[in-house]
């Protein structure tokens, strides 16, 4: 959950639902004050959409015209609770109206559709016109946690998702358009599997940290 790489501009996958909205305003503010062309993308789920922090953050980003994309990954369930229950609005995209920013509902399983919508939002942010909200309507194959029995979904429902797999659908489209060959796609799969295997091996072979590391990196300096 807590992957982060600040040097790459990756500010962390937050353990607090909705915790990232205000942070996205901060990196957006840095870009604005320092005059860089950096744009912040804030990914959050349909569950996080109900946190007050997201509303505060979208309002703040809008009044300050911050270069931020609020990207709602609506995978239909917050833990076991469907968005049709936990959200008062028909979509999360329409909430953008309240914050005077564009809000677009897009098929989150369609790489090309997402790319197009995101590209427009990034261009708008770079023009200094402020944030956008993109709701990617999608789904998840697995449960909220390891061991989630997923009683809230039927087998038919999950089978329907499998038939709409975004990676498979992407492959079909690029093959049909002749953009990439079958062999190239296979090579990408092989490479991806290798990267994952190497990461797992690195993790398995690495020693646990020394106990002293419990006490470091709390502060930069602490007399």
């Amino acid at each position: 959950m807590h992957i982060a790489d600040v040097n790459k501009g990756m500010l962390g996958a937050n353990g607090i639902v909705g915790g990232g909205g205000p942070l996205a305003c901060g990196s957006g503010l840095t870009a604005k004050v320092l005059g860089t062309d950096q744009v912040t993308a804030c990914f959050y789920g349909d569950g996080a959409a109900e946190q007050g922090t997201m509303h505060e953050a979208m309002n703040l980003a809008s009044i300050w015209k911050l270069p931020v994309l609020f990207v709602c990954e609506n995978n239909l369930y917050a833990e076991s609770t469907p968005y049709t229950y936990h959200g008062a609005s028909k979509s999360f995209a329409e909430r953008a109206t309240a914050y005077d920013m564009p809000g677009v509902l897009v098929d989150g399983t369609d790489v090309f559709a997402v790319y197009e919508v995101a590209g427009e939002a990034v261009a708008r942010a770079r023009r200094g016109e402020g944030p956008s909200l993109i709701e990617n309507r999608a789904f998840r194959y697995y449960g909220h946690f390891q061991g989630d029995g997923m009683a809230y979904r039927t087998e038919d429902e999950v089978a329907g998702y499998r038939a709409r797999d975004p990676i498979e659908s992407f492959k079909r489209q690029v093959l049909a358009r002749g953009l990439v060959s079958q062999a190239e796609l296979a090579e990408i799969d092989t490479q991806a599997a290798r990267v994952i295997e190497e990461a797992i091996r690195f993790s398995d072979e690495s020693p646990y940290p020394a106990l002293e590391e419990c006490l470091t990196d709390v502060y930069v300096s602490y007399p």
């Binding site: 915790g19 305003c25 320092l34 922090t53 953050a57 703040l60 930069v220 602490y222």
Partner: protein, 340 residues
């Protein structure tokens, strides 16, 4: 070194002003820190409506512009969190949380984000953030605008906490806080804003984690914080008339804590009284007593004592509020109860 008399309020303003001049990445944000944003006869004329609710940040928007002095909506989570990530990505933000009591609406951004970010990222991030916030009873402002609560933040690993008691210290400690690579909460007692003292014109930094022995003494150590420093010094003068020589230590920084200053003093005086305006449970007062009990027990000639606010919110009724705040008389009688 040219000095002149400044109020506590002016000293804080000057610290921010000098740091904003020195470092273009220092920005200020908060509710009404300038005031009157976008209003034609205010911002339109380069003016400020307030310059902070009690005028502490007056003139900063005029000098640095509203790109660096940002009025915020009343959305503490959003702007404190924004300040955290702005700090992690290259700015040195000063966020003003108007009254510390408002921490309830932005605690996640302070506690789970600001204070933990560096540790959770394996030391690969820095959060050079300052949150300035007003504390203290005696302002007739009732239970949601009057607390101290610095112990709550001192409890947090990753956070530094500073409480200044004089204009000189306010300027030097705030400059240190702004330059510090870690997140710092800087507490300002609102009843100290109009107090005055000699303050050098130039910038100077008072290191965090160094207490100040305000008065040397040999019979009892009074450890104290913020506005209570002045009460303790007044009590010490009264005690002196009765032949009791009190040493008064102003902690100045609660985290990091200058435990050596406290222990050295108690080893000399053999008696401890802690005076703290905060609530008594799990507080700086209990923390100091625990420190001394654990590490200087054999030096003590009597049990340590605490003079604190009661375990209640700050009451609104003026006589009750006056009763709530530790008094000079209470400090005097408490010291006398342990000094034979």
């Amino acid at each position: 070194m040219t000095t002149r008399t400044l109020t506590f309020r002016e000293a804080i303003n000057e610290a921010i002003r000098l740091e904003m001049r020195r470092d273009p990445t220092v920005i200020l944000m908060g509710e009404d820190v300038a005031g009157g944003a976008t209003i034609p006869h205010i911002e339109g004329k380069g003016e400020e409506a307030w310059g902070g609710v009690l005028g502490v940040t007056k003139g900063l928007a005029k000098e640095f512009g509203r790109q660096r002095v940002l009025d915020t909506p009343i959305s503490e989570s959003a702007y404190v969190g924004a300040a955290v990530a702005a700090a992690a990505t290259g700015l040195r933000p000063i966020a003003e949380l108007m009254f510390v009591d408002f921490f309830g609406v932005c605690m996640d951004q302070i506690f789970n984000q600001g204070a933990k970010l560096r540790y959770m990222f394996g030391g690969k991030a820095q959060v050079p953030l300052v949150v300035r916030t007003m504390i203290g009873a005696g302002f007739r402002a009732a239970g949601q605008h009057s607390g101290c609560h610095y112990s709550v933040f001192t409890h947090m690993p990753g956070m530094k906490t500073v409480v200044a008691s004089t204009p000189y210290d306010a300027k030097g400690l705030l400059i240190s806080a702004i330059r510090d690579p870690d997140p710092v909460i800087f507490f300002e007692h609102k009843l100290l804003y109009d107090t005055t003292g000699e303050v050098p014109e130039e910038d100077y930094a008072i290191p965090l984690g160094v207490a100040d022995v305000k008065r040397q003494g040999k019979n009892v150590t009074i450890v104290t914080i913020g506005r209570m420093v002045h009460f303790a010094l007044e009590a010490a003068e009264k005690l002196a008339q009765d032949g009791i020589d009190a040493e008064v230590i102003d902690l100045r920084t609660l985290s990091p804590l200058d435990d050596k200053a406290v222990l050295d003093s108690v080893k000399k005086t053999h008696r401890l009284v802690v005076v703290d305006e905060d609530n008594p449970r799990c507080s700086m007062a209990t923390d100091i007593v625990a420190l001394v009990s654990e590490r200087a027990f054999d030096y003590l000639d009597s049990s340590p004592r605490m003079v604190t606010a009661p375990h209640t919110p700050v009451p609104f009724s003026p006589p009750l509020e006056d009763y709530y705040v530790p008094s000079v008389d209470k400090i005097v009688s408490t010291v006398k109860s342990i000094v034979a």
